[in-house]
Symmetry: C2
Subunit: 365 residues, 2 copies
C-alpha cells in the first residue's frame, strides 16, 4: 500500500505532524554519509541539538535509534553489574527505565509515585546514600506530568543524573547544563515536529569520564560514537556505522525551522496551546488527570467521562475527522485520553479543532 | 543547510540512490504507529521482507536500527556469557561481528581468512566441536566477496547460524530457509534502494526457542519485538517502542517496487550490471581485488593503479561528476576502490557512466 496518502491530524502523544520543511527535506536526494555535504549537515544537526538541549556538551548527537533506544544508551553507558540506580517512577517511562537499567545489571532502587503526580525530589534524593546514577522523566508521556528536574539535578551530589526529555525537547524549557543533567535522551516525533526514528542524546564530560568502558552494547557505545560525530578530542572523525542520512536531513530541517522561529517563541506557542486546550476541556465539563500546577503544555491527559466508551470516541475522531488522539497507558488505558499539541500542531486552530471534534465525538459515540 | 538539494550518483558501497517510489513515500504525511493504515503498512513490509529473505519466519521485521544495530540484535539474542561463537572473518564486517559477540559475553572462536577471499566452509565447521552459534557474512562490503552460505548452513549441525546479508538482500539470491539461516540481519541502503536507518531482520522458530531470555538489550529483545509486529502466537499486538513510521513507509515502497519488477528480474539486473562493470574495469587495464568466481555483482572492488592517488580520483569524481565511489576499508583504505551498482543504479547507464568518469578521473588526478 505504498501510495496511501492518508493525511491525519496527529493530536495523540506522538508522533505529531511534521513541520513542512521537514517533509521537504525527507524527499531530498539521498547523499553518502562521507559526503562533505552530509558531514556539514551532521555538524549542523548536533549544533542545533545543543541549543534545544540547553547544553555545550561536545557529545550531543542524534543516535540512530528511537527514543527508547536512547534510554538504553543512557543506561548501558553508565551502569554495569551491581551499580546502584535510583529511578523515580511516576508513569510508564519511569517503569521502563527500571527494566532497562535492570537488564544492564544495575541494582535498581525505584521510588514509586502515584501516576498523575510529579516526582517528589526529597524522596528520590533520600532513597539511597550513594547511587551511581539517579534517573527521572522530565515530561511523562503516559500521564502528562511535568517534574522539577532542576531541583533534582542541582542536588544530585556525586551521582550521574539521567533525564528522559522525549516529550519536552524543543517545546518546553530544557536546560541540561543549568539543571545538572549528565545524560539526556529524547525523541524527534514530539515537539521537534520530525518523524520518529532518531534519539537526540547528550552526555556531559563528567559522565563521559565515568562511563562504562567497553559496554555490552557496541552500537550504542558513546566511546565509539564520539568519534562518529568528530567529538573525540584530537582524533578527527571515525567510521562507526552508516548514519540514517535521510532522517538526519529531516531533523536538521526541523531544528532550523525551530531556531528560525525562535526557541522562546516556539516554547511560548506550546504553552499557549496547552493552556487553551486545558481550559477548553474543563469548560466542556471534563476533568484533567494530571495534578494542577504540574501539567505538560505539550501533552494533556483528560479523564474519559463515566459511561463513555473511550475507544468508540477515538474511532469516531479518526473516521469522521481524521484526527488521532491517544488512549491512556497501562491501567489507565480505557479511562484517560492523551491529547498532544506538539510541534507544528501547537497552535490555536488545532485547539479549536480538537475541542469541537471531541465534543461531537462524545455525543455521537 | 536544510535546503541543499545536492544530487549525487551514489556508486559507493552504500547508501545507493533510492527508487523514486521510495523518495515519494518518504514525503507522505506522517501517520501514527497505531493507525490502522500503519498497521497494514507494517504487515505489508514484514511480508515483503519474507520474500527478499526467502523465508516463512513469522519473526521477520524491520528493526529500528541500522545494519550494525541488526548485527547487535543477532548476537544479543543468541549468546550470553561463555557461549561459544565461531565467527568467519574475511573482512571488516566479520571483524565487527567478533567485537559485538565479545561484548555480549561470547567466547569467540574466530576463523581468519585473507581479505579478498571467500569463507572456507570446512575450516569454519572444524573450528569448534560444539559452538552455540556460527556466524558469517554473505556479501562482504569491505572486500566485495560473496561466500557460500548454503554449504555452511546445511552443515551447521546443532549450532544456530547467523548471517549478515547487508549487501546481498534484494539484489542477490538469498534463501534463508533453504540455506539453514537461523538469524539474519541486513540493511536497507544497498540493493533495496531505501535510505539507511532500518535493519531487515529474520529469526527462525528454532533460534527463537533457544534465544537468550531477558537479554541485556531491552530495545533489541526479540521476545518483545515479536509482539510489536504481531508475531507472538495468540497474543496480538503489543506496544514496545514507537516505530520509525516514515522510514517504514519508504521500505514498504522499495519492497513493493522490487516485487512489482520481479525479484528474479531485479537480481538479474544486479548480475548484469556487476558483470559489465567488472569486464569494463579489466578492459581499462585495472585489476580486480576479490578472488575470481567469488565476486559480488552488487559491489566491485578494484585495485588502485600504482602511482595513482586514490583520494584525488575520488575527489575528482565527486567534484566534476557528482559521482561517489568508495575507498577501501581497513588496511586497504588507499589501495582499493569500491564501486557499487545497487538498487536503481544496477543498470547499463550507471556502468557506462562510472567507467567513463573513472577513466577521465584517473587521467586528471
Amino acid at each position: 500500500m505504498p501510495q496511501v496518502l492518508t493525511s491525519r491530524f496527529l493530536f495523540g502523544p506522538g508522533p505529531s505532524n511534521c513541520y513542512p520543511e521537514v517533509t521537504a527535506a525527507l524527499a531530498h536526494p539521498v547523499i553518502g554519509h562521507l559526503d562533505p555535504v552530509f558531514i556539514e549537515r551532521l555538524d549542523n544537526t548536533c549544533e542545533g541539538l545543543r541549543t534545544v538541549w540547553g547544553t555545550q556538551n561536545a557529545r550531543t548527537l542524534p543516535l540512530s535509534v528511537t527514543g527508547s533506544g536512547g534510554m538504553e544508551a543512557a543506561f548501558v553507558n553508565t551502569v554495569d553489574d551491581g551499580d546502584v540506580a535510583v529511578i523515580a517512577v511516576n508513569g510508564l517511562f519511569g517503569e521502563r527505565m527500571c527494566e532497562v537499567a535492570r537488564r544492564c545489571g544495575a541494582n535498581v532502587v525505584r521510588v514509586d509515585h502515584e501516576w498523575g503526580t510529579p516526582i517528589d525530589v526529597e524522596r528520590v534524593l533520600a532513597a539511597h546514600p550513594r547511587p551511581k546514577v539517579i534517573a527521572a522523566v522530565h515530561a511523562e508521556t503516559s500521564t502528562g506530568v511535568l517534574s522539577d528536574i532542576a531541583s533534582l539535578g542541582q542536588n544530585k551530589g556525586d551521582a550521574l543524573f539521567i533525564v528522559d526529555a522525549v516529550t519536552s525537547i524543543g517545546g518546553l524549557e530544557l536546560l541540561a547544563d543549568g539543571w545538572g543533567i549528565d545524560v539526556g535522551y529524547a525523541g524527534t516525533q514530539k515537539c521537534l515536529g520530525v518523524p520518529p526514528g532518531l534519539s537526540p542524546f547528550t552526555m556531559s564530560v563528567r559522565a563521559f569520564e565515568r562511563r562504562i568502558r567497553n559496554p555490552r552494547s557496541w552500537y550504542l557505545d558513546v566511546g565509539l560514537l564520539g568519534g562518529y560525530v568528530g567529538a573525540a578530542s584530537g582524533s578527527g572523525r571515525t567510521y562507526h556505522h552508516t548514519p540514517p542520512v535521510t532522517m538526519i536531513a529531516g531533523l536538521e530541517a526541523g531544528l532550523q525551522r525551530i531556531l528560525a522561529e525562535g526557541l522562546d517563541s516556539v516554547q511560548a506557542r506550546h504553552r499557549a496551546a496547552g493552556a487553551a486546550l486545558q481550559a477548553g476541556l474543563q469548560e466542556m465539563g471534563l476533568e484533567l488527570f494530571a495534578d494542577e500546577g504540574h501539567r505538560l503544555p505539550s501533552l494533556t491527559t483528560v479523564k474519559v467521562p463515566d459511561g463513555v466508551d473511550s475507544a468508540a470516541v477515538r474511532r469516531h475522531l479518526l473516521e469522521h475527522f481524521s484526527i488521532e488522539i491517544g488512549s491512556g497507558a497501562g491501567k489507565y488505558a480505557a479511562s484517560i485520553w492523551r491529547i498532544g499539541m506538539m510541534g507544528p500542531n501547537a497552535n490555536a486552530a488545532s485547539v479549536t479543532l480538537v475541542l469541537g471534534a471531541l465534543k461531537e465525538a462524545i455525543s455521537a459515540a
